[in-house]
Symmetry: C2
Subunit: 158 residues, 2 copies
């Protein structure tokens, strides 16, 4: 049953991750000033694919454990917030709102990590790279806001 859970959680990850393909960074993002430590473009899909596998494995391990209620609720919360960032940042180009979403995502991932660890320490450990990556993403989002003060988002069209 753990493999069925893994497959379903992986589906949830790719559901949230589909926004990455639907709202690509494009020329707009390429033209923005970015910090020198910005990870190379090729790393993002590689990192996310790896993280999705870890996240799904963590979810599946907790799903088959007892006393998993809060951990499962937090897993759901983080995936809902995970899928929200890309449409806000690359779709609407609202960088400050993107930072708010990332901050909430960071909190939910940190809470999920702690809660998963209490259920199954390997599940908690599998969330460590995810929290690290979201920390980097948050720092990058913040830097891009500071380096591009003139960007105010995409005008709402009708």
């Amino acid at each position: 049953m753990i493999w069925i859970c893994f497959a379903i959680f992986l589906g949830a990850c790719f559901g949230a991750g589909a926004t990455g393909g639907l709202f690509p960074p494009g020329v707009w993002y390429a033209r923005l000033q970015k910090p020198t430590w910005t990870p190379p473009n090729w790393l993002f899909p590689v990192a996310w694919t790896t993280l999705y596998i870890c996240m799904a494995a963590a979810g599946a391990r907790a799903a088959v454990s007892e006393g998993n209620g809060i951990a499962m609720a937090l897993w759901s919360l983080q995936i809902a917030l995970n899928g929200l960032w890309t449409p806000v940042f690359f779709g609407l180009r609202r960088m400050k709102l993107g930072l708010l979403v990332l901050s909430l995502l960071w909190l939910s991932v940190a809470a999920a990590l702690v809660s998963l660890w209490q259920v199954d320490w390997i599940a908690g450990l599998l969330f460590v790279p995810y929290l690290a990556w979201v920390t980097v993403a948050g720092a990058l989002n913040l830097s891009v806001i500071r380096l591009n003060p003139g960007e105010t988002g995409r005008a709402q069209e009708n």
Copy 2:
């Protein structure tokens, strides 16, 4: 503990539902041909708020029950897909891709309903209005595609 789970699941619902405020239908959608049975605009936020409360209650009831693994995984899957439809339909204006997302959402909600019911029949029952509403939304999406054959989505901008 069930109330903490309820609050977290409700947060996940509003995380996914935030897309509704960020990608509003606007003039583009108002101008589309719609079927005569289209629900009035005011009903959509009322319906979704009610559904979110039912969905969070279902998640919380299952979260504190034993043998909840697959039900919890499916709850996560449906919320990831739930948050995807609005950016695709109203953000990108890709109506056919929206229908694909809604079809996958329908399947995940139906599977979650069955799986929740096996864990706690009240949790399953709380998903019945959700499945009914997604069925209506799917029929509306399909009708709008048929009634507006010239609409091909928003051009990708840079």
